[in-house]
Symmetry: C2
């Protein structure tokens, strides 16, 4: 027994010593990586392999411009909520790592082709700091409007957005390949687009009151006008000569940073110039901080990320967004929510079959043995029971069979939904600038304490949107305690994406009289700069809202779009107090 004890000590002591060992600092140059044109990906793969051997590592990139190609990245099939699943070619695969810092020391990371820059999976204590990411060829494209015609538009396409007229259609392509092409089959890569959106070239924001033109993935009929001038044929297109037409990328396969099932992740002074999807998408993760980061277009471009700047799904702990700049991305600055799955069948008294309905949620497997689920009516979003999961059987990326410890309540009907009863995260969003992007500012759909303060918003849609539904997006929302204070809302709603600067909505189509989806919202000390009679507040299905001490000042920086609209719209709500109504 004494020997055994000694043996255990023999095992334990070095471990303790090792735990306290200082951070090992390694440089990418130790692994053959260097700034310049060469592919730095093999060095990254080697370096991350080496980091795994230490308890705590800092991987440093001496300041410079580094290029990353896909050839030697890692393959992994990723299901990414609100983005597009697929077999990803990953340049920085941060899988199962602990205590790792990647310090770019101000470097620029340029990615080439259809690759995923960073995927964090099952990792803890990760710091990403002091670098920017960009793509050699952006996933979206842009063009200047040179003429507006009855049958379409004339455009001039800058050289950084290569294109061709092929079979009478406009296709965006990659740059001509300089190196020897390895395969004879790969010809030109096509960057498909699903629509267009007009931006003011000088104001560098979505053009006044424009809407998306969607083509459902079909390319536009077009002809060359010589040089880089192109005529696109489509009736009833409106635009202003001199403005910039941006072409949406078809999908969201290439987010900047995917954070799945991780904890304690810090983004610090990271700049996302571009990515083909969301900037940062966190899912099923605990404690994520985004501080002093930027999502902003590189010089010569109008668009930064092609979807939301940040987005968090079924996360826990604390989410902090502080001191960031989120501008010109193609969707909201953030959205923090849970996920509903729809009950499609209940084959036994204690068994349900649930479906991830939205195709950008497929494979988002969040139900686990022992988990508590809330049972929600699909149409009213009223939670009417709590279920404890006894067992699950994943049928495929859409369907899961769930066995419960108790029998289902009688009022359950097919089409109801379940969501995880999370340790909902505390949200702190402060001192950020959100401007000029398509759509909204922040989507607040989290039941943890949510504080939004000292931010600046200049968004074409609602600055703050509360929603949640179980019939379209299947995003679980419903704040419980939300404070919005000391923000500046500067001429928001100059576009089409919103009913009010602060829009507290809910996807409720039945049970209006009783369903109160959002609760306890305080809006104080904010400044609203406005240019017309747009609503400042739209309240629907809320219990408890205080509007107090907010300043409103009018200007004429935009043409008025709404006349005589109610400043405050309140429907199907209780305990609403608005001081200057």
């Amino acid at each position: 027994m004494k020997q055994l004890f000694s043996f255990i000590l023999f095992l334990v002591i070095p471990t303790l010593v090792f735990c306290q060992s200082p951070k090992v600092i390694v440089s990418i140059t130790d692994f053959g990586g260097k700034a310049g044109d060469a592919d730095c990906t093999p060095a990254v793969i080697k370096a991350l392999g080496a980091c795994k051997k230490h308890k705590s590592t800092e991987l440093v990139f001496p300041k410079g411009t580094y290029h990353f190609y896909g050839d030697f990245g890692i393959d992994k099939y990723c299901f990414i909520s609100n983005n597009d699943e697929g077999l990803k070619r990953i340049i920085f695969p941060l899988f199962n790592l602990e205590n790792i810092t990647i310090d770019g020391q101000g470097s620029e990371f340029i990615f080439h082709g259809f690759v995923n820059p960073f995927v964090l999976q099952d990792s803890k204590n990760v710091v990403l700091k002091n670098f920017s990411i960009d793509f050699h060829r952006t996933f979206h494209s842009e063009a200047l409007v040179t003429a507006v015609r009855e049958d379409g538009l004339d455009l001039e396409i800058p050289e950084n957005f290569p294109y061709r007229i092929f079979n009478g259609l406009l296709q965006f392509t990659d740059f001509p390949k300089s190196s020897n092409v390895q395969t004879t089959l790969k010809t030109t890569e096509i960057y498909d687009y699903w629509g267009m959106l007009e931006f003011g070239t000088n104001k560098r924001e979505t053009a006044y009151m424009v809407k998306d033109y969607g083509f459902s993935g079909t390319p536009l009929i077009a002809e060359s006008l010589g040089g880089r001038k192109v005529r696109i044929f489509k009736k009833q297109l409106k635009a202003t000569v001199g403005n910039t037409l941006t072409f949406f990328y078809m999908n969201r396969k290439y987010p900047g940073f995917i954070v799945s099932d991780c904890s304690d992740v810090l983004f610090n002074r990271v700049t996302i110039y571009h990515c083909g999807g969301m900037g940062i998408i966190g899912q099923r993760s605990r404690n994520i901080t985004v501080d002093h980061c930027k999502v902003t277009p590189a010089r010569g471009r109008m668009i930064s990320a092609t979807a939301d700047a940040t987005h968090f799904v079924n996360c826990t702990g604390q989410i902090t967004l502080s001191n960031n700049l989120f501008e010109n991305q193609m969707d909201d600055a953030t959205n923090i929510h849970g996920i509903y799955v729809q009950i499609t069948d209940h084959p036994a008294p204690n068994e349900i079959v649930v479906k991830l309905v939205h195709d950008q949620q497929y494979g988002f497997d969040f139900i686990r043995k022992g988990m508590k689920l809330e049972l929600v009516h699909g149409t009213s979003l009223i939670t009417y029971d709590t279920l404890l999961v006894k067992d699950i059987q994943r049928l495929n990326k859409e369907y899961t069979r769930v066995t419960l410890y108790k029998n289902l309540p009688a009022e359950l009907i097919t089409g109801d939904a379940v969501a995880e009863i999370l340790d909902y995260p505390r949200i702190h969003i402060h001192d950020n600038i959100i401007r000029n992007n398509r759509a909204r500012g922040m989507l607040l759909n989290c039941r943890g304490e949510t504080i939004v303060e000292n931010n600046y918003f200049h968004t074409p849609g609602a600055a703050l949107l509360f929603e949640g539904d179980a019939h379209f997006w299947f995003e679980q929302g419903g704040v419980r305690n939300c404070i919005i204070r000391n923000n500046t809302f500067d001429n928001c709603l100059f576009g089409v994406w919103g009913k009010a600067v602060i829009d507290v909505a809910a996807g409720i189509s039945e049970g209006f009289e009783t369903s109160r989806y959002n609760k306890n919202i305080t809006i104080t000390g904010n400044t609203f700069r406005i240019f017309d009679d747009a609503s400042l507040l739209n309240v629907y299905g809320v219990d408890g809202l205080i509007w107090k001490d907010n300043k409103i000042s009018k200007n004429n920086e935009y043409l008025p779009a709404r006349i005589g609209q109610d400043r405050y719209i309140v429907k199907h709500s209780d305990n609403i107090s608005i001081d200057n109504k």
Copy 2:
């Protein structure tokens, strides 16, 4: 010790008894499956789960028409040689099964949507018999040519190929959805096409001397002429009024039967009316028999499978194709070959980095520890060394790092290739009818004994093609002992896919004087029905070929296309004997 012995007996005896236990026969009806409109997929999944519990099972489908939808199929990411990789939704997942027979008793299996009918993975002793597979909506589409114009063609599209004119473009779609659509996001499914090919409507074969029209995936500009009549705009299209224009499906994601890493698989009286890829694709498998099967279009259609009827890659043991009908598929009746990977780097004296170059070979991981590889010059296909694999490291679906037991020879250069030295299979192809499909008949690229006898060929291209190269398709060929006897070659070469009825080629661009890629071919007792002076035999890079006692008879069933061409063309070959030259 005696107790232990008793205990072992206690374990062994029931096992022995169990091994000898008779085949358990189960019916799909035992699992809730039934003929009719309802989705039979859940019953299949249950039934296959039950089969796994028995040592030997026969799963019977009482004769009827069964429908299979994707909702409850199994997801698995599949890399399928010469087809398209992807996350497949599989209806019959035959994974890790032994001694299983699926007897359809003459049933029809109808598949709906983007699903994979059968995937066999790591299974042994599998018999599939007495059923047909088809798809509710075919992946390809067809139309009748009603007028030929300077600027395009007028078409009439039959009702079984739904389409729309959308944004001025022709798109093929699914049928309108009858059931309630689960997700609001899924709109119309599009069946993309990459090109067109004309068929004779009455002759039911590719039209005389037509070639593929490829559009690289862009849809055609089109307008509606009312009813189901459509005008497509594209200059220089040729066609004959009354003929059928078939639209190629864009990819090969949905083969009928995928057989990977299996042994002893028998297809017996299975009919493939349609699939979106090859009919049967076997890879890294041992002993596959296809007997009394058909690949043939369903009534009202011109096309059966949208690619090769059958195809075998890196297989071993015995491959038998007997008594089958292969007609109207969109590519060859079979191709039996190995795979070359290209050496892209040799970072150490005993280390190479190899790449799967063709994108339809990505993920075809065939190199294993202890495997023997042949080392081949990329341009001459001359094997110049044998390597024994010490270790491998898969980098991603394209690249693998291979460590060898010995140092690499000095003559190795980047761009050379390696292939597995297989227990090459014995091939017996007899009593089949191959006709009216696009392209060729059989591609014979196997080093095991290959016997082709008593078959009937009526193909627009070469009836038999030998090839193999390490620069484009990266398919390893090179027969060693091939007998072609007593076949009928009936008016082959009425299309553009071949230089001779029997075309013995090789992808050699250097070393003509010494490289003899195909060896020991005997061609005897065959009948050649011909309509012009097309070559019967083209020989290139061969050592040993006997042409003896073959009958040739001429007819005028087609317009002559070739005048004064040599019947026998021999280049860079040795030991060629042609009796009636």
